[in-house]
Symmetry: C2
Subunit: 378 residues, 2 copies
Amino acid sequence: MRFSLPPVMASALLASAAALSAAEWLDPAGAEPEADGSVLWYDLLSLGLQGRGWDASATATPYDRLPAAAEGKVPPAVWTLSHNSAGMYADFVTDATTLRAHWVLRSEKLSMNHMAATGVSGVDLYVRQDDGTWRWAAVGRPEATENTAVLLNGVPPGEREFRLYLPLYNGVSKVRLGIPSGSRLGRVAPRSGEPDRPVVIYGTSITQGGCASRPGMAHPAILGRRLGAPVINLGFSGSGRMEAALGELLAELDPALYVLECLPNMGAPEIRERVVPFVRTLRQAHPRTPVLLVEDRTYCGAFLVPSQAERNRTSREAYREAYRQLQAEGVEGLYYLEGADLIGHDGEGAVDGSHPTDLGFVRMADVMEPPMRLLLNR
Amino acid sequence: MRFSLPPVMASALLASAAALSAAEWLDPAGAEPEADGSVLWYDLLSLGLQGRGWDASATATPYDRLPAAAEGKVPPAVWTLSHNSAGMYADFVTDATTLRAHWVLRSEKLSMNHMAATGVSGVDLYVRQDDGTWRWAAVGRPEATENTAVLLNGVPPGEREFRLYLPLYNGVSKVRLGIPSGSRLGRVAPRSGEPDRPVVIYGTSITQGGCASRPGMAHPAILGRRLGAPVINLGFSGSGRMEAALGELLAELDPALYVLECLPNMGAPEIRERVVPFVRTLRQAHPRTPVLLVEDRTYCGAFLVPSQAERNRTSREAYREAYRQLQAEGVEGLYYLEGADLIGHDGEGAVDGSHPTDLGFVRMADVMEPPMRLLLNR
């Protein structure tokens, strides 16, 4: 059993042609001009921020990943990590031939010893191509808590749609885009043929994006681009442990698909105790929303260190037990994806045997894309 | 023309079965015991250091990549970068079930903003499997200029062969391996069926390993493992520019293959001026040694930013001109590898559009391995 679908799931795989978007141009009067007047700075929030489960009316700051009401209900570590902007991005259209970013970080800890500052605290730009696919365009490399970077320069004239991803392991208090005065910046209009309901991915440091080289290379971001679907990254480093409060928060959302990938942070006893009630909470609020249980990736050292192999084995055994119990209870729309293939089989997909590099994240996306595409009917 | 071989090159691709190595055990009297006597620390140099073009009799310190005589002859930046231990490694055998590393770095700059400290300043451990292939085992994560890390713990008893790679963008003044007293550590005996003459790769920041997540993921290291050949990494960040002094230094070596991949650091005028005399210098000293000219990888932003595409185009045009001129002069054993495929075609292989991540380095190794295998007749 690599990926298990009940027989009823026989939806055809339909390609949906994404219509090109029409822009709603922002009023330059709302931008801040550079001292010499050459550049106009627009607040990123004026473009609409994506990748959030709760919008600014519910959160303490616009760049928070959990609502203000979650404080004190979720474990302190989860609350702290909810200020990291993992998975947040803005889509926009511009005819600018030069593009700058200005971003102010919340924490002075710009990097980790196994993850570059570009991934922890950088911004990452993609451009939408004529065929509707996204292609990497530029990265903003952080040097301090406040950064200004020229992302693009000398691009040929023409309107293009871009996506800017925000830092994975840091928070932001302010993000601005700078374009030459005279150029235009606009919101992206809703696109026909693309879903508005998001995918919600709940998990660990790996979900949050450790250790991608830049924000666009975390697997939730890669999958969002490939599937043409909004993705909400609810990865909490070291803290994806399926507490009841997290189940209640996830149930507040109304996604097209839940992906639950907490195993790297949970031992077998916790899995046995928490998975079943967690899924029940989601199912009570959303009787039909598919829920995909994803196993942990195999530790790269498991072939050599028995304790690592044992951890993979016992966690998976407990997760599968929970899956079977939920099925026996008659829970429908529940799917299971094994972890053995997630980061490949050569031991090279992670920086430390646990956290994927870009190589591991691409491999994860390769494994997760087909079942997610099926469940999203895309 | 992706990879061009003269018709005379028709060697069959022969697999060589690597014989398992016999160890020459080190005398514990030469090790330094931990205060409580539980651990014996052996200097890495007592195992024999590989990946060096010049041994300690010629270099100012044992971990230098260029001979002391090169100081003042090579550009100052090259001299400074020659103190980085990029590409150096030690092979060893041990029956220890716990393995520690202690390493002292030369520079306090442990990371770069687009490259994690594990790659810049870390150590990276591989183990040789029964089939002769290498598999990742552990990484040593740097926290300061002096580091001690438990690389392995709880490994089942048995003799195993390991390879420890040293930092890519930092130098080391001292490296030690710690094993439980009572365990043994030994040198690896020369292996039948494997070449003793190395591959010499001369190039830029990319050759040096920017921006691999750990030392074993730079493409010279990957290729060394895959080909079962010693590789000497002469990558100098921002400074791979084919000066005459570098040609004379490379000519002092006697490799099985020269790989020249300096294009990312050279514009067309420099390429026109320097490539032909550089290759002539190598050829005069070594009439038969194959020389592989590798083009630059395509900038990930070249599809969008015309100046990047132009830089790729003009550099390659000049490199190919040099190749043709050398062929016209009757230089034999010269081979050419195009760069278009090096880091893939999806724009995701680099952190900044230029420097490969582990994803890009694996793709580079995939492209470079077959022609190098052919030229090494392995």
